[in-house]
Symmetry: C2
Subunit: 436 residues, 2 copies
């Protein structure tokens, strides 16, 4: 082992930055053995040096001055662990241009500016490692870009947002409405005070964009594919899905279908007792299909201080050991021209779960079945329970749940336009795809 230490800076001492610092400070011997050289944490850039972080750093490490890192020629690697797009993008460019390799956990940054940042790093002969940006402690970036290198990945189906998965698990397990499960997630720290990006599907979609780049060489925009969160889900739909033998998961999907790339993030019915259905609580899971290996599954903590730090420090070790220098230039983060186009939304095909609120009167099911049939949608099963109560019997509505055979979103949208003109149906309509 070379005794010459590598100097490292952490930019951003939030949850993940503090976790990474903790591993470096508490396990110097382990890290040195595996990296081949001792690691010296030289700077940790924070907004407020006085804030308590529950970790003891050597004097002079904490600083509010980002420029100190940029100017310090001894610092070879920067762990960029700030969130958000700005100044994350500008910091990354400055660090690259001053000759530093980057390790980051910032998925939003890579989703939005990955193309620019990766290109700039390559021009400068520098590297960006980002295992921690997707699925926290699960080594999925390494798996896709290195371990499965014999394969063309053909399908990714993944639970990439632990907050949403926790909320769904609680709704089903505890019979709680969405609001109550969200409040519980917030009180336990599984959901942020402003949980928008987690529960509206944005966080999962950003991670899917990164995985899709690596697996398919396609840089999809967030706006190019359907994205729906769990924030509008009703408990009753989870229960009907359960009756039909399915669990509802916020599923991120990217797969090759007839030479095009089907992509979406949305609540999806997953058959009971399949690996993805069994993931309960604040965890992530990824099912990958490769054309050589077949299907493999990966799961674990998708967020949290130490799981994410585990991936950050693994990237740091890879960067010091020289592996990232070999891997990064060959990541297939985009190919020109892109090998696959994103499939138009309306072409997406699957079975679907539909719920209508219908007036409890004759001929409603026949009208709906007729409209579906004329739009090439055939019905696989129906749930309609007897209406409870008897008040206002004329106008009372009952839920009608229909599971379709395989059809396209285009057919469904066409049918839904006709259905919306029926007096006997009142909003909302619910539509969720069924995972194959």
């Amino acid at each position: 082992m070379s005794e010459q230490p590598v100097s490292v800076a952490i930019v951003g001492m939030g949850t993940v930055g503090t976790g990474a610092a903790r591993v470096l400070v508490e396990q110097p011997e382990r890290i040195a053995r595996r990296a081949g050289r001792p690691v010296r944490l030289k700077h940790a850039v924070v907004r407020d040096v006085k804030k308590s972080r529950g970790i003891e750093l050597p004097a002079g490490v904490l600083t509010t001055d980002f420029a100190r890192v940029v100017r310090d020629p001894e610092v070879q690697i920067a762990l960029l662990l700030v969130g958000g797009l700005h100044p994350g993008r500008e910091m990354t460019l400055e660090l690259l241009e001053s000759g530093k390799d980057i390790v980051t956990a910032n998925k939003a940054l890579l989703c939005e500016f990955g193309g620019e940042l990766f290109a700039r790093a390559r021009e400068l002969g520098r590297t960006i490692a980002f295992e921690a940006a997707v699925a926290g402690g699960i080594p999925i970036i390494n798996t896709v870009s290195q371990c499965l290198a014999a394969n063309q990945i053909t399908s990714i189906a993944a639970i990439l947002n632990g907050t949403s998965n926790y909320i769904l698990t609680q709704m089903i397990g505890e019979n709680w409405p969405y609001r109550q499960a969200l409040a519980q997630a917030q009180s336990l720290g599984y959901a942020e005070e402003d949980p928008t990006l987690d529960i509206d599907g944005t966080d999962a979609a950003q991670k899917l964009v990164i995985l899709t780049q690596l697996a398919f060489g396609v840089k999809a925009q967030l706006t190019e594919f359907p994205r729906k969160g769990i924030d509008t889900l009703e408990l009753s739909d989870l229960k009907y899905a359960g009756e039909l033998g399915y669990t509802v998961k916020l599923l991120a999907v990217a797969r090759l279908i007839a030479g095009q790339l089907e992509m979406h993030v949305q609540p999806t019915l997953v058959r009971h007792h399949t690996p993805l259905a069994e993931i309960r609580g604040p965890f992530n899971a990824i099912a990958l299909v490769g054309d050589v290996v077949g299907e493999t599954w990966y799961s674990g903590p998708g967020a949290g201080q130490m799981p994410t730090a585990s991936s950050v420090v693994a990237d740091l070790i890879d960067t010091i050991a020289g592996r990232t220098r070999l891997t990064f230039p060959r990541l297939e983060v985009w190919r020109d021209p892109p090998p696959y186009a994103v499939q138009p939304r309306e072409k997406t095909s699957s079975r679907f779960y539909l719920r209508f609120n219908v007036l409890d009167q004759p001929h409603v099911l026949a009208d709906i079945a007729d409209i579906l049939g004329r739009n090439h949608i055939s019905i696989a099963s129906v749930i309609q329970h007897e209406a409870a109560g008897s008040d206002n019997a004329d106008r009372r509505t009952v839920p009608l749940v229909i599971m379709t055979h395989r059809t396209t979103v285009g057919n469904l949208e066409s049918a839904e336009r006709e259905l919306s003109r029926l007096q006997s149906i009142t909003p909302p309509h619910v539509r969720m795809p069924v995972a194959d």
Copy 2:
């Protein structure tokens, strides 16, 4: 990309060798792009060049002459895909000494001679890659030795033999006795004609030895830890376990307990709805706990032609790209002195499932409970169903199932010595641990 091709030889064109050849022949562009150089399959060493393999190789590639590979200075990497210990060991040494890097799937070889072969490779500045030796298509070697480098692994609990898992799944699912499930596995090709090494736990134990080396730096011998297969399991025990809320799996376990390494391979009760319990059919799964990341899970096809070839070709790409040269010298396959001793068998502690055949007469349960109690074993639950039939009522035996609280193997063995003297108990006794 350098246009200079890398010449490669395959030694052993059995199932896996043929699969690896297929990927190289059918996906030359993909492999070249990811390895950074074109790959030329120059020799494929077989016993019989005339045997049909369902794959078209260029003229002159097939040969029965292993020495051709050794003598050919153009060949930089050999895929050693023969089974068994000899001449696998001698071939590996010859290949290393003639300057070739090795990729292998031979777990028995690495379990037995890994220490010698790895040391020789390091002396010669060569590398040995062996992702395919454990868990087929699941990238567990890379995960343990690279992706989780920030961690000290503290626990491995794994289903490492797909044949056994298939048989157990069929016994429970179809209500079949062991013999019938084995016959089915053989007819489907999931079990070999001579299935001994799969079903007696040897195959899983060999893989556990390799994982234990990487994760704990300890070279355990096969004889140092308890090993038991599924070949003596009775369907009734799977059913009683089910009644208690557990599935029986052939579990390979290595974990740190109070500074010692607990290791065993044996049928083990795993609680329903946990990730390992849900692995059905001929698959493998590994639950890893790291001291930074927490618990992560990996699963997929643990054997088979193309899944295993996926790992072989990934290793080949890593070796060509130069990553193996960085990783291999630093694998912690042993540390001197070994950082942990293997825990003596009798110290192993868990809850246990016990089944006795007892005479259906008064005071038997009291006698057993008394002996267990005097040996510091307390009873958590009991199943004793009413005896069926009434023939020969004096001497009829009934099964008595006892779930204990946590105790040690030493306490149990001491109790079992006393119990074996009771006239009211007849063999066999069944004892299985319960996974935490």
